[in-house]
Symmetry: none
Subunit: 404 residues, 2 copies
């Protein structure tokens, strides 16, 4: 129904994602948001619409993929992003509809009668620099397999991502290839097997790739093999601009978030630095787009480390930057997170996430601050994250009336 | 599930719809409901269950049709009422399952080699009295086309509604006839075309009707043609009494709301005047029905005009009338709106609508007044409008237990 009602105007919409913003009490019964000194957010909260969103479903802890898809207006229960794709995006590899992406582990094998037996699935968690050196070697030696381009990117420790780029767009089902990781040490590394006819050519390329890599790595002491997991294609997702009529731009420091935005067709802008640099980009590009997704990572990183003081500090840093966003005078400004990352849990959680929506058409006056408890008092109630786009479009008067 | 649980008793249920009741701050940060002096509503709110309903979906602004269907217990996302039907109902034409309803514009055309070229799609927005005179002329000269009865009713300015009444109920798809309005001046008026085999006979009648009307109107200076749009049949909607076991009566001054109630099979009562006259009817008929839908229009009309003081006055007028409703001692009384019409938006909006439910089985004590913000604190939370019927049935003890 929503898409049929979309209409155009000149409004500007900004979505700020403070990654993992929601929290739980950490000190004096207060959450990170409650502990932070945030005069600008407080002031804005008093005149805004507040509420909580549920990223995926009640009780469900989302990864970054589902967390962001929801905020972009895609029901994450209906759209699945493969592990290989996320890994590739996270390491800055672009993925196209000609591609299959794979996450890979460097591993240690010994050979018994020529068969590779896995001794260490993580190659002793080799240092990241070691990974870079080895990956460079692979890159130089495996550029193509037949007419298939091979892209490799180092991750942390033993991890890397691989993309096979075929000359033509791949049919659906081309990524149905089995993992080669036997999941247990002492077992033989498996061969990649196609589960569908469409996946055959991918499995063949993978098999040849594993053989070549083993050959190139055979002299390495630890990382003498590559195990492949999570073969995946770019998901079929309807374009954001086509659905919502918004020319959209993603501003993010970390590649995975730019990658997620690019999956739905947003233009992505690479930024080096922190919040200040991101805001500078926002100002530069403000006239060129209708919708901006601004991603702030460090709230989540500190939450994952259990460092609540770090998380509080990033919230305060954002609070200081808020006036420069407000000075752009966007028609609709939303501040929220993709999920909660309570420092006490040192990881993503299932808790609803505070949402603040600024527009001329709110009741306001329900909440004193942008915190979990004050957001609960707000006029937006508790709602599914993927309905946030409905609210953003409604508040920018970009939706026609439904029925007469 | 609901319908299978319905049981009978002698309770009385009243639904009062203050059309477009929800608002936004207009003066001193207060909404129309907050500004109004409403001692009776305040008293009732303190001992009632409050909450907010979402008419169609988060962010979606409903027309009157979807707004009311929801309150009657029909998911408006699943039931579509055609434009022609609404127009006809709004002008007081009854629609039956033998009918196709159309909204029509008087227009000005000039003829080029016998072909009607649209010069003004709205015939210069002729005065309503002019419309009445011309419509009367059409009525007198086109009563039947073959065995099809033709009903015509004047609207405002250049608008009117037409109903073709066939001798037999029409098959589904009979209303799939294209508009004759070319949507742009300088183009030829189109012929009505059937998009389905079932629609053929309707298209033929429409073609003949347009020809006859052009003949009759040919001497008119401005309104010398009729353009047809929104061909529609009565929607297939399951009967209200069959679904919920409630003998239902609609009391409304404006024809469209009586029409909407009649679409779901309610008995409709025509009332001239205002709230007082409606309440008098309610008392008269109180013993004859189980469920009463009482429609109060002016809150919406003033909201649409941006006249918040007018809207406040109607709310106060209703407050004065409230004791006489309470004196009937209904088992369940609900006071709400079909959607919000904030004076600042001068039109319907997507904002959730306050709901007050009086019954012996509420918590109460959550809210001090019947306002948007106080309703947010209530025990009913924020819920889809079409679930209101569940609450009304439950609170009148008309639902059996689900499962053992």
């Amino acid at each position: 129904m929503l898409e049929a009602l979309v209409k155009q105007n000149n409004t500007k919409l900004i979505l700020v994602v403070l990654d993992g913003i929601g929290g739980l009490p950490v000190e004096d019964g207060k959450t990170e948001l409650e502990l932070a000194h945030t005069p600008n957010l407080d002031k804005l909260a008093k005149v805004s619409a507040l509420g909580m969103h549920i990223p995926v479903d009640i009780g469900i802890t989302p990864g970054s993929g589902p967390g962001h898809l929801g905020l972009f207006g895609y029901n994450p229960a209906e759209h699945n992003i493969g592990r290989g794709i996320l890994e590739a995006l996270g390491l800055g590899l672009e993925v196209r509809d000609t591609d299959v992406a794979i996450r890979a582990n460097y591993a240690t094998v010994r050979y018994e009668q020529g068969r590779p037996i896995v001794v260490d699935r993580r190659a002793g968690r080799i240092p990241t620099e070691e990974n870079r050196r080895i990956t460079q070697k692979l890159k130089e030696n495996i550029r193509k397999i037949g007419d298939v381009e091979v892209l490799i990117e180092s991750g942390m420790e033993h991890r890397c991502a691989i993309v096979f780029r075929f000359p033509e767009p791949l049919e659906e089902g081309s990524d149905m290839v089995t993992d080669t990781d036997p999941q247990k040490e002492g077992l033989e590394a498996l061969e990649p097997k196609a589960l569908t006819p469409q996946a055959k050519k991918v499995a063949e390329v993978a098999k040849e790739f594993v053989r070549l890599a083993a050959e190139i790595l055979k002299e390495e002491e630890k990382a003498n093999y590559l195990l492949l997991r999570g073969f995946s294609q770019k998901p079929k997702i309807k374009n954001f601009e086509e659905r919502f009529g918004l020319r959209a731009c993603a501003i993010a420091v970390y590649p995975m978030y730019r990658g997620l935005a690019s999956l739905v067709g947003m233009q992505v802008v690479k930024v080096e630095g922190g919040i200040q640099e991101e805001l500078q980009k926002l100002e530069e590009l403000y006239k060129d787009y209708d919708y901006f997704f601004l991603h702030i990572k460090k709230t989540d990183s500190y939450g994952e480390d259990g460092n609540y003081k770090g998380k509080v500090r990033v919230i305060e840093e954002f609070d200081e930057a808020l006036p420069s966003i407000l000075s752009l005078n966007p028609d609709v400004l939303v501040i929220t997170g993709d999920h909660s990352t309570p420092s006490v849990l040192k990881g993503h959680s299932w808790h609803p996430v505070p949402v603040l929506l600024k527009s001329p058409y709110v009741l306001g006056g329900t909440s004193q601050r942008f915190t979990e408890k004050e957001a609960l008092k707000g006029e937006l109630g508790i709602f599914p994250a993927y309905k946030l786009i409905n609210l953003m479009l409604a508040h920018s008067l970009r939706l026609a009336k439904y029925g007469a």
